[in-house]
């Protein structure tokens, strides 16, 4: 078989947008799924393979793991929003009943700073949870308490206390001078881009200030580990979205000095971006287990998860957009700031996106505060930035007297989304459901519809392998060590292999979430499906090839004429074979125990120029969302009645799980639009709503009807033609809802979440203007 790069012609696209493309595909790869391909398994609505384990309670998550003699680990957390730790005294705690080990984090992590309330400072392991909790109370920490700033606004103020360590300044931005305040900086650079200033002259200019709140991931399973040692080898059950990253952290940890580490995450109770890496809780759990010589379970509780489990930064945007008489965007000016808390990442908000905007002048500030650190959160930077951009788009359309949908269409260069406007408008009944007279009428309940766009860019990367094993008894195993955090990865991995073997998904066994199996990606950036399924499909294809080789050897039939389909060996051309042979009969020809094939995600080129993707129909996947809302102008309460989500994402390998993921993204978007915000006590520095009733997320009563429209695209960017779908469906929702509210009441709420109070304030401000 040839292993050289191959140049082939494929048919890519969707609907009547089909074209032929000459592409070079990777070494040993097979042609991507393309227009006109017929599949038996791929593209069918299949039940998730782990659904039965989940509905019966048999699925064992990290939190459910238990080892013989297992201890319970707990961490002590700083009650101060900003402090230096002078000393930690564990001596009394170590004498408490049931306590088997304790850790001083100053010693373990060489870190004397506790820069937010809830920062971990020590840990214990004890026979029972209650004993561990009691022991935490016996730990004596001597803090040097420092002044703090827990909100973005407070940390940006001129005389704000220093929120970080060493020489760290509270505000960082490109071009910020030493000693210059954020306000002075913003004033100095207000008109810095002459080209933008010039271009805006004589055009219609709309401006607005927008803001969003800190959102916590609130995965139902918290961060945590169950750790056990066998000599220097660590077994680590971890609630993670990156098994191999956790393994790397464990073996690289100077504290743990593990010779090897096996990380297991067969079931993960949600991630949403917050669960990469071993984290302090993971190191602590492993180290406690090592010191105690017994397994330790250390899981965060709900409060800890809120304050120390990551979040989406808040954001503030000053935006101006200039639009020409032809309805084309001329320029965008953006100033953003926000806080990633005391984390290491930035607060970036993405609002120079989607549309053809010839000139952009954007400056971004990161503001460090004394609050828990941000982590990647489902489309980092997008929901907040797009809320601002898409609000401004509606304002601009209004200013020039264009329908917001038409205005977007005129400025949209996306080769797929441009065809989705009509599709979405029809399904959402855009013309009919738009409120022609926003805010008018005597009925206090107003209805409106708004829309917004989405876009994402991940057809997957390298770094994934898949093992397919066909046993002589006809059993098929598909193995990869990455995790399925609820996205359906495991199911589609099995489906693409089943397709190659002519089987149904329920005739193959899938194994996932164990670093003993072949490498796989972390589930971030919507990369998993695009990284993993091309490797799985290729491994399935090669395994089938070997099996058919055995068949040919035994029967004298020509291997290249054969394929596997419907549980049988059949002729590719549909003709009859001299006799019937089932898949099981073919497997009986295997001389050893099994055919085993491991394939990597194919790459084009090598070294630095290596690429995991081919030229395809489009480099990004896109979509539109339409929200219909009802606003009670007396109470300010917003109800989202319906969301239409039009979404392309390359080839839909399993429309059933894809639809679920889109619905879920929309629901998180509704939650972000209406409810979610971390509330900090400015005086004490604590998060006030670190639970699940005061930190509100959407429940069944508030969930809208969601109508998903899948636009199936043979993209061609990898052999399964798939694009990642985790992120895109949550990007546009809040923006579409905000635009719908404005359409309903004739006043715009420019801040998320859209609480009743903000609605009433917007209505009052409109009243004053009159």
């Amino acid at each position: 078989m040839s292993r050289d790069p191959q140049t082939i012609t494929i048919k890519v696209g969707f609907g009547d947008q089909v074209r032929e493309l000459v592409v070079t595909i990777g070494e040993g790869d097979i042609p991507p799924y393309q227009v006109g391909d017929r599949h038996d398994e791929v593209g069918q609505r299949r039940n998730r393979v782990d659904a039965v384990a989940k509905v019966t309670g048999r699925a064992r998550y990290t939190y459910d793991r238990k080892g013989a003699g297992m201890l319970y680990g707990k961490m002590l957390r700083s009650p101060h929003a900003n402090a230096n730790i002078r000393s930690v005294d564990l001596s009394k705690a170590l004498t408490m009943p049931g306590v088997k080990a304790a850790l001083d984090f100053v010693e373990v992590f060489k870190d004397r700073s506790a820069r937010y309330a809830g920062c971990s400072v020590a840990a214990v392991a004890a026979e029972t949870e209650a004993q561990a909790e009691a022991a935490l109370d016996a730990i004596v920490v001597d803090y040097q308490v420092l002044p703090f700033a827990v909100t973005t606004e407070a940390a940006m103020a001129e005389a704000a206390p220093q929120t970080g360590r060493g020489d760290d300044r509270n505000v960082s931005a490109r071009g910020l001078r030493d000693g210059e305040s954020a306000a002075d900086f913003l004033a100095r650079i207000a008109d810095q881009d002459q080209a933008v200033q010039e271009a805006m002259k004589g055009q219609t200019v709309v401006s607005g200030r927008f803001s969003t709140s800190v959102q916590t991931h609130s995965a139902l399973e918290t961060h945590g580990v169950v750790c056990d040692w066998d000599g220097d080898n660590l077994l680590c059950y971890c609630s993670t979205q990156g098994t191999f990253g956790v393994r790397r952290d464990a073996t690289a940890s100077p504290q743990l000095r593990a010779r090897n580490a096996r990380v297991v995450a067969e079931y993960v109770g949600g991630g949403f971006g917050a669960k990469f890496g071993l984290g302090r809780e993971g190191v602590a759990g492993a180290l406690l287990a090592k010191r105690a010589g017994r397994p330790v379970r250390l899981m965060l509780d709900r409060r800890e998860e809120h304050v120390d489990g990551g979040n989406r930064p808040d954001s503030f945007h000053d935006l101006s957009m200039a639009v020409g008489r032809d309805g084309k965007i001329v320029a965008l000016k953006a100033r953003n700031w926000g806080t990633p808390g005391n984390g290491s990442g930035g607060a970036g908000a993405r609002n120079q996106a989607y549309y053809a905007i010839p000139l952009v002048d954007k400056v971004e500030l990161n503001v460090r505060t004394n609050a828990g650190g941000a982590r990647a959160f489902r489309a980092p930077g997008y929901p907040q930035g797009i809320f601002a951009l898409e609000s401004l788009m509606d304002m601009a359309a209004d200013a020039i007297g264009l329908d917001p949908l038409e205005f977007r269409r005129r400025n949209d260069p996306h080769p797929i989304r441009i065809h989705e406007y009509d599709l979405g408008a029809e399904r959402a009944q855009w013309q009919k459901r738009r409120n022609r007279n926003p805010g008018a009428g005597s009925d206090p309940i107003k209805r409106g519809m708004g829309m917004a766009a989405t876009e994402w860019f991940n057809p997957g990367g390298g770094g994934a392998s898949c093992l397919v094993r066909i046993m002589r008894d006809g059993t098929v195993e598909v193995r990869n060590g990455a995790q399925d955090i609820g996205t359906g990865t495991r199911t589609v991995m099995g489906m693409v292999v089943a397709e190659e073997l002519g089987l149904r998904i329920d005739q193959v066994e899938t194994f996932i979430g164990d670093t003993r199996d072949p490498q796989g990606p972390g589930s971030g950036g919507s990369t998993t499906i695009g990284s993993l399924t091309p490797a799985a499909r290729l491994a399935g294809y090669r395994a089938a090839e070997q099996l058919l080789g055995l068949v040919a050897g035994q029967t004298g039939w020509k291997a290249e004429d054969l394929r596997l389909r419907g549980g049988m060996v059949v002729r590719k051309d549909g003709g009859r074979l001299p006799r019937e042979m089932s898949f099981a009969q073919a497997c009986a020809l295997i001389a050893d125990e099994a055919i085993e094939v491991t394939e990597k995600h194919p790459m084009v080129g090598s070294g630095r120029n290596a690429s995991a993707n081919y030229e395809g129909f489009a480099d990004t996947n896109s979509g539109l969302q339409f929200a219909e809302v009802e606003v009670d102008t007396e109470t300010g309460k917003v109800r989202v009645l319906r969301v239409v989500a039009v979404q392309d994402s390359g080839k839909y390998l399993n429309p059933k799980t894809a639809e679920s993921q889109i619905r879920g993204g929309v629901i998180q978007g509704v939650s972000y639009a209406l409810f979610e915000r971390r509330i900090m006590d400015r005086h004490q520095g604590h998060m006030l709503n670190a639970d699940l009733e005061n930190y509100r997320v959407v429940g069944a009563l508030e969930t809208p009807e969601i109508d998903v429209v899948l636009v199936d695209v043979a993209n061609g960017k990898n052999n399964t033609s798939v694009m990642g779908l985790g992120e895109p469906p949550t990007i546009a929702t809040a923006a579409a809802i905000a635009n719908a509210v404005a359409n309903a009441i004739g006043a715009r709420v420019t801040s998320l979440p859209i609480t009743p109070r903000k609605v009433l304030e917007a209505l009052a401000a409109k009243g004053r203007k009159r």
């Binding site: 039965v52 019966t56 609130s218 949600g270 609820g486 619905r663 699940l692 009733e693 009563l701």
Partner: protein, 216 residues
Amino acid sequence: MPADRDDSPGRESNQNAAISRRSFLKGTGLAVAAAGVAPGRALAGPGSDQEEVPVFGPGPVPIRFELNGEEVRVEVEPATTLLDLLRDRLDLTGSKRVCDRGSCGACTVQVNGRAVASCSILAVDVTGQKVRTIEGLSSAEGELSPLQQAFVDHDALQCGFCTPGMVMSCQALLERNPKPDRPAIAAGIAGNICRCGTYQNVFEAVEQASGQGGGK
């Protein structure tokens, strides 16, 4: 919407069939004495005017109850929640502790048919009662219940962490109201948070299980 959740049919049982840790500690518990088991030293009969308060412990006390159709006898420390007893002692890990204060529904089990947040009732309070967990929903041969099958068919789960509690709330709902309409289903699971966002799929699953919707 905590107020909605508290008022929802799915949560009524929290007030009626169970007592919270706090009310128990205050000595106003009521269920134990009626159960006729003598777990502690002093017992007041139901309706007794005497403020004789049942006292358990401090050591472990024996309790007996029906769990998924089988009798369980076990000694528990009086402060043990039903959830911790199920998970830590009886290795029934389907029910999850997520919020640990009755606001998310992930620990939902049935006590005498009603949906109860097992994180917020004490193990001693189920003495003499019938408890059903997610593990008791499928048949002994492992066959899924129609409701579980409907969850599978409608993909009413993603990460699956809320699923056992969600299924149990739906089960209790269907026993109370065999043909719930959508608002009734939404109210029935108003106390169950699903962070992945499967509510609509759950609606569809309950409709299928109650014979109101087609397969998928």
